[in-house]
Amino acid sequence: MKNIQKLGLSLFFLALLIFNVILCLGTFQLTEERLEEIAKDEHLEVLRKELRPMFGVKYTNSFAFVYNFNNYLDGYNDLQKDEQNWDRVIWDDYTLAAARVSSDGFVANNRLVLLFMTLFMGSFGALIYILPLYRGEPKGIKHNGLMLSSNKRRGIIGITVGIYLILIYILLYWYPAYIVNWVLITDPISRKISGGPASQWFMYGVIYTLAILVMGIRMFRKYWGNRYQMLRTASVMFFQLSFAFLLPEILMLFNQPYHNFINIWPLDYTFFFDYRIDDMLSSGAIGMLMLISGILLIVIGVPLMTYFYGKRWYCSWVCGCGGLAETAGDPYRHLSDKSVKSWKIERWMVHSVLVFAVVMTAFTIVNYFTGYEWLGHSTDMLHEWYGFLIGAAFAGVVGVGFYPFMGNRVWCRYGCPLAAYLGIVQRFKSRFRITTNGGQCISCGNCSTYCEMGIDVRWYAQRGQNIVRASCVGCGVCSSVCPRGVLKLENGNEEGRISDMPIIIGNKSVTIKNQ
């Protein structure tokens, strides 16, 4: 390793260390005025009464603060619940907001500096590690020693990374108040873009986008000279930065609903929820644009684009989940299970999620138009369960946290309802296929090994058969790593797309005729 790379790694790890240490820093002090800032009018009275013991008390870390805050509030809520005073229970979660508004001291006073010392320095360090990679080496496949890496073959480092990611996601989804300091340090960016303070989702968006950009540059280094890989990487980087990250914030700046135009239902499972529909309908022309473009994408865009190009147009060129998988997740792509058994599980799971999403949405829409007369608020429970199981636990915790255990496409493969929808179109009505080059396959297994979707590509290639699979996201890596030029992603005539040749090209002795 070159010295500059060592420096880069050191900076990265130093930034990571500071980033984690920050969680234990800062002081938190709730006052009456601060509570007034965040509490809704109807709750203010109760909150003031219940939280009075905390006023003026200085906590030296967020953990103690959150612990106490929850204690006081839970005491009140439990009491109301016991007495069946359901309308008196405070269902809103004030923890993060309270921690935010109460924080002062080191972290709150040094947001910008800490932002630089963590996220920016980490990205910078990663970049100066990444940029000199493979310098002086000819263009080609860069997989030397990969199976010996502790990080990439479920070794100690890999397991550690996985556990760390899982913990972060658990905090992010269910205990955001504990990571209030991470939210605070992204405030300066949020204020620059949308003018408002950062939420935990904004903080997540910043890190997510940085991960895609930095690791996208790693993809450029790794696949330098391979135009397909470089173009699609550039594409996911662009869509993440502009459509997924900046545009929704800019919309907020102009008091429009938060909307990510490239997040398509049913991946964006809240699209038809009443509050989203109401938001869009009450936001004039831009709201209508959101609603109509969203529906058009679902009804026409997805089938049409998938017919012409396969599901790759979305999954490995546009999608944010795909974007992270293809960049930050690339080092783990070979960890996907290739067995027939896992394929079977995959089909059951991913299509079940699709059915779940469709049924939930159907109920929601019916409910919306019947004015809640028919089902009442029972759809809320469906929403809650879907959000918890699929939206948070599956897509987030498992989807990313399991990269180092089961490969980078766990969510896309087993859970994403949109991928299931795209997959059905791709399998049955599309011009896309991976063509096998006659009899050139040597069954080496590079294609299957590096298929992130767990497709046993070699099974088809060695039979001289085209690969037409619902799950293929068209990342093109099988084709790139093939040492004999056997695989080509193509859009072409539907005729002859699904082939089943008994004997591979090259042997004239036995033909289909005399089979």
């Binding site: 000819p138 050139q440 080496c444 297994g445 030029g485």
Partner: protein, 453 residues
Amino acid sequence: MAQINQNQKHIVIIGNGISGITCARHIRKQDSDIRITIISGETEHFYSRTALMYIYMGHMKYHHTKPYEDHFWGKNRLNLVHDWVTEIDIDNKKLNLEQSPPIEYDLLVLALGSKYNTFGWEGKDLKGVQGLYNYQDLEDMEANTRNCQRAVIVGGGLIGIEMAEMLRSRHIPVTFLVREKEFWNNILPEDEARLVGRHIREHHIDLRLETVLDKIIDDGNGKVKAVITQSGEVIPCQFVGLGVGVSPNISLIQDTPIEVDRGILVDEYFATNIEGVYAIGDCVQYRNPPPSRPKVEQVWYTGRMHGETLAYNLTHKPVPYQPGPWFNSAKFLDIEYQTYGVVPCVWKHPLDSFYWEHPEGKICFRALYDGNSRQLKGVNSMGFRLRHEYFDVLLKRGGTIEEVISSLHEASFDQEFAEDHHQHILHAFESQTGIKLYPIKKKRKGLLALFGL
């Protein structure tokens, strides 16, 4: 030829490489009743020999190189025996094995593969001197290259360059001795050979052309210390990789009445001189080779075709082995190579050649054709993927060089968005031959054209 559709026949295949396994699979496809046993001492399950290098380089693990999951064999009632055969008892139709009880057969298929050549060099048996053909060789190489300061590779062919690449993946300095004027120059025309040679040097491999090994020196403990070339140069090294070809692995046959020459002699139906005994793959030698093919062909693809053909013959009416147009491929470090049809390293009138090379010197295309009839004889390509089906069809019907050059869009198999060489090749052809060509493109209409399809 014996037919196997009678009940209760037992077909035994020795060897679980591509030939033996392909044969077994295709027999099972045609006949669900026959008993099939596959014996191999090398590995329990079929793996791809061509992927051995990737295990060493850390691109894959051994289990990745297995083309079928382990439950495949039981499900298809292909009985696997993991043992070495020690003796073939032709009279009693029986095989003796090292550990397991003897196995009786009704039909025997020998798919014994190759073994690497060592010739008669002094010091060839020292520790640290080896070739690379089977799984045991890979394990040896793993052990032999630990703490290796420098390695010497002997022989400028496919195995030689593979071993060089493997060693370089672990940053071991490599000196590569090649007898010919250029790398693989007995197969590749000079331009292509030179292109690969440049790439070998680009990978910091010390390529020594026209250099011949004289002997290998002992360090006093039975390990290799250095090699001496015929010009007297001493090259210190701890590992010597032998990439000087392979020969049919026929030691098992030696004391049997099965006729052998360099390999096991077979007719067009892969039958040996003994009734009920067949041989396929690397270990065979054709009594009457197919037109323009050598007597011994040790290629993955031919092994597979042998297996397909023999399986068909044993389950249907016999057909003679008839390979289609020749094709092959390889990868030299980062440069892929494909060939279709026949392109020898030298040619004479009336054959003519067209050659184009990319200015960066890592991509090229050659077409060999008959100067009178303009018929295409074969193509070579480096760093540029070509479509097998296109050339298979074209060569069979005798298409012309002009046809190929003007429809390269169809012939190309490069990844989407890859650099388009067709215009350059077209211009090069025009300036070399003076013939003006226009690229043939299919006209697209309607909605598809809108999407650029």
